[in-house]
């Protein structure tokens, strides 16, 4: 029996989303839930408007039209710790003169009164996207920190995204800098990642590496596939596809890779201690800046040429020198740095 890899929701999240749908009147025939199970409604409080100055009246100048500040709601995944930090960074990146920002986690998001509908909803994490779609229907959404973005985009609507992964080309160049002999790379993903695969293929082609894609349906199959690919490739590029990875398989996989001299380029620094050669993670500031740019365009309605997914421009990189030495890459000195895409 195969794992279908579909996303799961926690009961709390689902109940909260249902409640918001009920409040918004968008839910269709939801089962009635007891009042006690519903989360308390969270009012989205607009930022206070600065009071007028109390100085002596001067000759009234010709009034300059002050652009109205737009309401932006930042929703973050309540179950992901890093999502809150990213949400905070995004909120900081948005100029307060232009936006009234409300930050809320996905579990406590409630439908606002109609007059305070946000101009843009920024969703950090998949759960936040789902919550925003459920409780703030019709609002344009800019999301980030969603790996399975294809699943999000396929449902359509006014939604744009920012890649959760650092630029692929930047990662590949970094990996090549660490391992100059890198040629063949294995990459195992779950089903439904064709767009992602295409982007990676394009990036790989641009840096002269060959990526072998395999589609897995479970963690066991991932490991199984890797064992069969290990002899044919120089490295394994791990992507955070939660459907086809498990802690057990990650440990076995990293152990197997080391014993077979296959370098693993991971998505998380914590995997270095288990044997990954290097890791590349997105930089919160880069995420925030990119989200801001996208959100501004969405807020301004300039979305005609806005791509569905906007790439990041920076990556936080870590290298495990012990693994590098074991793989015959002794020239690696720097262990931690942030790289930016020159473009």
């Amino acid at each position: 029996m195969r794992h279908d890899g579909r996303h799961r929701r926690s009961i709390t999240t689902s109940l909260a989303a249902a409640a918001m749908l009920v409040i918004a009147g968008c839910a269709t025939a939801p089962p009635p839930l007891p009042e006690a199970l519903l989360p308390p409604p969270v009012a989205i409080t607009p930022e206070p408007i600065a009071p007028p100055a109390l100085t002596a009246p001067a000759p009234r100048p010709k009034p300059v039209p002050v652009p109205a500040r737009r309401d932006v709601t930042v929703v973050f995944d309540a179950d992901t710790v890093s999502a809150a930090a990213t949400a905070a960074a995004i909120a900081d990146a948005l100029p307060p003169q232009q936006y009234r920002i409300a930050t809320v986690d996905s579990k406590n998001l409630t439908a606002p009164v109609p007059r305070s509908q946000p101009a843009v909803v920024i969703a950090v994490g998949r759960a936040a996207v789902d919550a925003a779609r459920a409780r703030l229907p019709g609002r344009p959404i800019v999301f980030c920190q969603v790996f399975a973005y294809e699943d999000v985009l396929k449902d359509g609507g006014a939604i744009w995204g920012v890649h959760s992964q650092p630029p692929f080309e930047l990662q590949l160049k970094t990996w090549q800098a660490i391992d100059p002999t890198l040629r063949g790379i294995a990459l195992i993903l779950g089903e439904g990642r064709s767009v992602l695969s295409a982007e990676i293929t394009k990036a790989a082609a641009s840096v002269g590496t060959d990526v072998r894609f395999e589609t897995s349906h479970s963690d066991r199959e991932t490991f199984y596939l890797f064992k069969r690919l290990a002899a044919q490739v120089d490295g394994l590029w791990l992507f955070p596809d939660n459907r086809v990875l498990s802690p057990t398989v990650l440990r076995e996989l990293l152990s197997y890779a080391n014993s077979h001299n296959v370098g693993v380029f991971a998505f998380n620094e914590s995997l270095l201690r288990w044997g990954a050669l290097a890791s590349a993670a997105s930089v919160p500031a880069d995420i925030a800046e990119t989200v801001r740019l996208v959100a501004e365009r969405v807020a301004e309605g300039k979305t005609q040429d806005l791509p569905a997914m906007t790439p990041l421009r920076a990556a936080e990189l870590h290298v495990n020198p012990a693994v590098a030495a074991a793989l015959g890459l002794p020239h690696v000195v720097e262990q931690h740095w942030v790289a930016r895409d020159p473009d």
């Binding site: 992901t80 969603v146 399975a148 963690d219 199959e221 057990t248 914590s270």
Partner: protein
Amino acid sequence: MTPTNGNTPWRSRSLVTEVLGVQLAVAALIGVIALIGLAWTSGSVIRNNLEHWATQWASELNELGAPFYLADGTESALDIERFVAKYPEIERVSWYDADGRTLQSLKESGPAESVAEALDAKRVTELATLAGAPRPYLLTQDVASTQRYRLLGPIWTESLPGDGLFDLDLKSAKTSTHLLGFVSVDLDFSSYQSAFLARLALASGVLLALLGISWACGRWFLKRALAPLSALQGSLARLAAGEADLKFPDSPHTELHAIVTALDNTTHALHKREQHLLHLANHDQLTGLHNRHRLIAELEAAITVSIGNNTKCALFFVDLDQFKYVNDTCGHASGDHLLQLAAQQLRYAVRPEDFVARFGGDEFVVLLRNVSRSDAKLVAANVLELMRGLKHVEQGQVFHLQCSIGVAAFGGARFSAQELIAQADMACQMAKAHGRNRVEFYSTAGKQSEQMARDIDWMNRLRAALENDGLELHYQPLLHIKTGKVQHYEALLRLKTEHGLVSPPTFLPAAVRFGLMADIDRCVLKLVVRALDEFRDTHPKVTLSVNLSGFAFEDDALGAYVKQLLNEYGVSGEQLVIEITEQLAVRFAVNTDKQIALLRELGCRLAVDDFGTGYSSFSYLKRLPVDYLKIDGSFIRSLPRDRVDQAMVRMVGEVARAAGMQTVAEYVNSAATLALLAKYGIDYAQGFYVGKATARPEPVEVALPHLVRRRSY
């Protein structure tokens, strides 16, 4: 070779074989123990390893579960077949769905003929709980075989919640588990067992080969080491054969050198002892001259030489005159001294190559080699002269010793040694008869020759009788005077001839002359003990007396012989009374002393025969180890008429009673004599009046002076 030591025979064994046998037995035992230990240890190690391998294979279970989670089952099936082929211990791999139903069973060459049975619900539940556990498998052993195992485990997948794994922590991440099914691996390790047994057999073969080599090498080495010991065998065999003058081959080895030294010392001591025993066996202890035994051997040798060289020899039989007088008046110590002086004179009188022996008592024999009759006569005369010149002073008295000499001259093979001695003895008797202190030559003509012929005839008859049971006993009763009962008989020897029975005085001189007394004594003892056995039923309390000569006590084995007879016939020694002469009892030689002591230990009683005719000193009675005194018949025959005899008998009776002895009067021929004996307190009476000797113990009827006539034993 089957030598005997005492009564126990044993089979001869080689020391080398025995040592090697023990060595190999121990080595084999150790080897067997080692092999058993090896088998046990190896079996244990193999079992532990099997379990360890099984645990290792457990990690492959997920790999084996690939058909559950792989989209392309073909490839995984091939992988599994390769996996199974890689491990011959894997007999079969089976898959079950999550409910335990069997999906498929696979072996090395493809689908297995026999599909594994479905898992029961209990096992399914048990296995399902193992999904995600640290040891996600069960290892079960086949009940029927210790070499067959089954490895069972669940196949499951896990996934992480949340998109993107942004907060991934491998240590604390929670996962969702999804059970796919189960896999079982049937393992058969019997091939290891077979391989191990084959190697064990090989090891046993090698061990046997090593033992064989060890045997061969050990045998060679031991034989080499023991070669000096083996070299002793020849010398030891000669030693066992009686040869004492030996030299044993020495050895460079300390241990063997010590043995050789000990053997040399032993043979030296044996040689000395042999010389001493030989001296004792061939010499008379009192005079230092050769004894009768040696005389016979020397005489036979001289006869042989005489035949070969055609030479003449002469044999002197010397009998001291008046020796009995000296002995009786001055005591046996004085007599012994006199004998020693006489022996010394005899040695002086002859050449060194001549031979001088003490024949017995006061009789000596001299063998002159290569001597003519006239020379022999001169030598004899010289001996007489020397003896005459010998003065023996004892207790203030001067005794002039004289002797009578009988000479038997011989040359050739006409006569045997015994016959020559008898001839010389006969000539000596003639010299005594002609007045003593003279020399007489044996003459083959006349009376001497006739006497000699008669003696030889008796000798032949006696020998035939000894060989053919021609001697028998007659029993003369001894009456217990006080009670009138007869339970005691004297056994008297009779020689059976074609003319009837002959009494000892007729044939005993010839027996003494020809050296048959010892054989006759033994024969008499056997007849007496056998008779006691025969009379066990009819005369259960009877006691028999028997006379033994002094020659019997020269036999060291007399006591042992009597003991053997008593044991053989189951007769008590108390029923046997041995009569010895007064001279033998009084003189009491060392050898005689031992024999008498041994006879008394056996329960035999002793009687002194013919008391009063020899050493008539009552002081001897105090130390005589005897139970009965038989008063010589010379005191009894005329007892009713002779007052001296009466006084003598009365006194002997009183002294004997005081000494705790019983007295026996011989030659009782009248009622008057019996009455006097009763009056004097004599215990037993023997003679024609009491009863003559008969072939069997007969009851007697005697008119007792103080008792009514009665019939008794």
